[in-house]
Amino acid sequence: MTKVSFQLTVNGRVREASVPPRMLLSDFIRHELAMPGTHVGCEHGVCGSCNVMLDGKAVRSCLMFAIQAEGSEITTVEGLATGDDLHPIQQAFWEEHGLQCGFCTPGMLATAQELLAENSDPTDDEIREAISGNLCRCTGYEFVISAIRSASVKLRAAQAETTLQPV
């Protein structure tokens, strides 16, 4: 099988790739880059567990070919925490019990990241709408919504702190 070679940035690190053009981005991230945090639940674009951030937007990695991400910046769940410190959104999911089996969670986190970047104080209905493209069979979504609401508070607090700091 002919392979294509390219570069992309994943979680801040430049990665070299050499894969067949048909390799899905989800498989590339999971198996070539050995970053299994991105999950695959349906491979037909519905469940959202494969969502990753691509150049600042949440996208279905099962509906893209890896080669399409050439030159792009991808953030996966592995890129959220700083060292041992969970990202505020992860922290909020932990505190609010926003996950049970955790399989949908990386996709939920990507969706939440995008939402909160665009809308720092979403209403519950806006959160609902935003995550409506992410299926979760465990939680019934209630605590996912609480988690995102709580994350928005955390992020706004962090934002306020940085703006208040003397320059």
Binding site: M1, P20, R22, M23, D27, R30, H31, A34, M35, P36, G37, T38, H39, V40, G41, C42, E43, H44, V46, C47, S49, T76, V77, E78, L80, A81, L86, Q90, F93, W94, E95, H97, L99, Q100, C101, G102, F103, C104, T105, P106, D124, D125, I127, R128, E129, I131, S132, G133, N134, L135, C136, R137, C138, T139, G140, Y141, E142, F143, V144, I145
Partner: protein, 826 residues
């Protein structure tokens, strides 16, 4: 008590830890121990596993519902570069035997079909290749010739089918695999004496759990040791070697099954034995480790976890004053093409078939019908979700026929708080409860009377708004007699009666407590629960506990998280282990403190002298000394190095079924109770249902962690909402499964869930389990369908629409409304 139950004596309670006020850890909504690793993407699910030299399998699946395999040509596929081997059912049969079956007499099922296929999606050949892409390329090149047989799709038609349409002519003459009748108590008498007999024909159609992760296996065969090493996301990994060793032609001890974090089960991964046998067989044939992860289509069509698919003809006997005296029904269940555990899902339903009501007798005829569909497996409720709905439908029907208020009628027939333990006609008991309290709290929380008035007023304006209420049982802590108690008593099959759960606890010389669990994490919170219970019992901090999971060779008894058993069962094991550890700690600690063991106690992670403040030894120091400084202690076995123990907890309360099956014994006695109330508005023109308000009150005994319990309730309710409004598997006349994907099998998204879900809890502790804990993993799905159905019927009460079948998707509901409109117009 009815005569037929006299021989069913309730054993004494084995509870050692009674619930008490002021517990430190039990009852706290502690953050989960499991979460940080999962949240950071390091959970370790089945598809995250890679072993050196691993190849990948892809399946060739049957496009036909029922057909003979005339020929399979694998030659083109074999030639494709990257392909290691292509194998048919006959190749497979050289290395593995048919799958185990709990049905008695058994029905033969091969992990890969031999000779004939019986449902769409059944595997007929497999490719093992260097990667999954190539494997799928090769699978497309396998050429098949078929001899199509008549497909049995309709339940009743299949039951009557003969000749070529019989699915398993070698095992059964027809497609009715089991047909048994039971009478528990004076059923005929009660019906003869009844003032009113309420009759309904009720239909519950199939769907399934569809956890977001599918099933998968990584299998290796070691030809020199003759055994297999298998990673699997089965719930049952410590039990399954005994079930599948025979199929894999190895002794259970030669099977090493390694668990992984599981991406949701809801029953669907309880066994997963077929996929293990299939993948292991391929690994053996190909001579390399093989990974096989079902894709979503395969999970829908071949994962053997479809849910109940039943037709009931039900009758409720009622006296003049509205007292229910007896329930009886004939039920036909479309089990699909095989019968992996017989009619276990009906056995399960026997635990609470008469609901929260005092009903003196119960009779049933159960027929397991085979059709050309994927076979049934467990799905949250395991059959009891249907009987809960049937019971509640019958109560609503009785209320209507008697002109009574449905809630009042429920209250009149409910078991009273002073009647526990209460034995129902089948012989199972309800250990404890306060159904009236659950009901009244739910009504208050929902403002039930207010909502009813409001709904009535809205209906008067022409809107279709209604309120529905359901009072249901949530049996927990299952006993395995449910698998076989309804089999013909002459041929009951494997009469299993054990469901042990074990734990190993070791105090490491550093002072950390290492806990080994024998059941996997499937989205429940096994580590959190154990941390809370051990912390409570041993006065330690939960963060000092480190968890790992055994594999089936290193491990011990463990039956897994299903049947809402895990929390109550592992609590029992934790208490057993704690008692043993406490004894050891005191022995070593007392020696170090130069006291007698009876003079010391456990206090904040130390062994301390009773009544004295500073006389104490931290567990860490005791563990260190006992591990590394043997000479500090006297001779004798009782001071053997190290502080470690393994404990097993058996089912807290079960009895055998009566030999003549006049009762089924006690097998699911730890009962919770739930009340769901919902208000809906139906768009009569489109059949769309909008949930306006929702309240649920659950009684699951002592709550270990209210927040994780709430998560289970919400998740279960979401499943129940899907079951009621949108989820159904559609088959056409040829037996084609027409919606096996997430776009058309419509599981609720966040948009479909109620906006203002209110959840409350009542705590009626069980007198039989440690700390009074009851299970709570299924309740949402056990209550939501009944409440929603009632609400929809109430909303459409002015139009005379009756709901006798689930789901009521918008097209179905609109169809019912249309028919009612046409009838009204005539």
């Amino acid at each position: 008590m009815s005569n037929h139950l006299k021989s069913n004596v309730i054993p004494p309670s084995r509870q050692r830890e009674a619930p008490r006020a002021g517990m430190t850890w039990i009852g706290q909504s502690m953050k989960r121990v499991e979460d940080p690793r999962i949240l950071s993407g390091k959970g370790g699910y089945i598809d995250d596993i890679a072993v050196p030299g691993m190849a990948h399998a892809a399946m060739v699946s049957s496009p036909h519902a029922h057909a003979r395999i005339v020929s399979i040509d694998t030659s083109k596929a074999e030639k494709l570069p990257g392909v290691i081997g292509v194998y048919t059912g006959e190749d497979m049969a050289r290395v593995v035997d048919p799958c185990p079956s709990f049905a008695s007499p058994p029905i033969t099922q091969n992990a890969m079909s031999v000779g004939k296929v019986r449902h769409v999606g059944e595997v007929v050949a497999a490719v093992v290749a260097e990667d999954r892409y190539v494997a799928e390329d090769a699978a497309e090149l396998v050429e098949m010739e078929w001899d199509i047989l008549p497909a049995c799709v309709d339940l009743e038609a299949s039951a009557a089918a003969t000749g070529e349409a019989v699915l398993h002519p070698d095992d059964r003459d027809g497609n009715v695999a089991l047909d048994e009748s039971f009478s528990f108590g004076d059923v005929d008498e009660h019906f003869d004496e009844a003032h009113t007999i309420v009759k309904r024909r009720l239909r519950w159609r199939r769907s399934s759990a569809q956890a977001i992760e599918t099933c998968g296996v990584v299998a290796q065969f070691d030809p020199f040791k003759g055994g297999y090493t298998i990673h699997s996301n089965s719930n049952f990994y410590n039990f399954i070697p005994f079930v599948i060793g025979g199929s894999l032609r190895v002794s259970p001890g030669e099977l090493r099954i390694i668990p992984v974090l599981t991406g949701g089960s809801f029953g669907s991964k309880v066994f997963s034995h077929k996929i293990i046998i299939l993948t292991a067989g391929l690994a053996r044939l190909a001579g390399v480790p093989v990974k096989y992860i079902e894709d979503r289509l395969e999970h829908f069509t071949n994962s053997d976890s479809h849910g109940s698919d039943r037709l009931y003809d039900a009758e409720l006997a009622v006296t003049e004053d509205g007292t229910f005296t007896s329930l009886r029904f004939t039920v036909m269940d479309d089990y699909g093409a095989y019968l992996q555990f017989g009619v276990g899902t009906h056995g399960n339903a026997m635990a609470q078939v008469t609901g929260p009501y005092q009903i003196q007798s119960f009779g049933m005829r159960v027929m397991a019908v085979l059709t050309n569909k994927t076979q049934q497996g467990p799905y949250r409720g395991f059959g009891s979700e249907v009987t809960n709905w049937v019971m509640e439908r019958m109560v609503d029907a009785a209320a209507e026929e008697l002109g009574r208020d449905p809630v009042e009628l429920r209250v009149q027939n409910m078991i009273q708080p002073d009647q526990f333990p209460y034995m129902i006609p089948t012989g199972n008991i309800y250990d404890s409860g306060n159904f009236q309290k659950v009901l009244s709290e739910a009504q208050t929380m929902f403002d039930f009377d207010g909502w009813r008035d409001k709904a009535r007023a809205m209906r008067a304006e022409g809107r279709c708004v209604g309120v529905g209420l359901a009072t249901c049982m949530e049996r927990s802590v299952y006993g395995p007699t449910e698998w076989w108690s309804l089999n013909n008593k002459e041929t009951p099959g494997f009469t299993l009666t054990s469901t042990p759960e074990g734990i190993t606890v070791r105090l490491d010389p550093s002072g950390k407590m290492f806990v080994t669990l024998n059941s996997p994490m499937v989205g429940n919170s096994p580590e959190t629960v154990v941390a809370q219970i051990l912390a409570e019992r041993l006065t330690i901090a939960p963060e000092d506990i480190v968890f790992n999971y055994s594999d089936s060779q290193s491990g011990f008894n463990g039956v897994g998280p299903q049947g809402s058993r895990f929390t109550a069962m592992i609590a029992g094991a934790c208490v057993s282990a704690s008692i043993k550890l406490e004894e050891k700690l005191k022995r070593f600690g007392a020696h170090m403190l130069q006291r007698r063991p009876e003079d010391v106690e456990l206090r904040n992670g130390t062994v301390a002298v009773k009544g004295l403040k500073d006389q104490e030894k931290p567990f860490g120091e005791i563990a260190l000394t006992s591990s590394f400084f043997r000479l500090s202690f006297p001779d004798g076995e009782e001071f053997d190095s190290g502080i470690e123990t393994t404990a097993v907890y058996d089912h807290p309360l079960s009895t055998d079924p009566a030999e003549d099956r006049s009762h089924l014994g006690i097998f699911y006695p730890i009962v919770g109770h739930i009340c769901h109330i919902v208000a809906v508005e139906v768009d009569a023109g489109t059949g769309k249902v909008e949930i306006l308000d929702y309240a649920a009150v659950h009684d699951n005994g002592t709550m270990v962690n209210p927040r994780t319990l709430a998560g289970q309730v919400w998740g279960g309710t979401a499943n129940g909402i899907g079951t009621t409004l949108s989820e159904v598997f559609n088959y056409d006349d040829e037996g084609q499964f027409t919606n096996p994907n997430f776009a058309e099998f419509a599981m609720p998204t966040a948009n479909e869930m109620p906006r203002n879900f209110k959840l409350g809890h009542v705590e009626t502790p069980s007198p039989f389990t440690e700390y009074g804990i009851k299970g709570g993993g299924e309740g949402g799905r056990l209550g939501a369908p009944s409440a929603l159905t009632s609400a929809i019927e109430d909303a459409l009460s002015d139009r005379g629409v009756k709901i006798t079948s689930l789901p009521v998707t918008p097209p179905i509901l609109r169809g019912l409304i249309r028919t009612a409109e046409q009838t009204a117009a005539e």
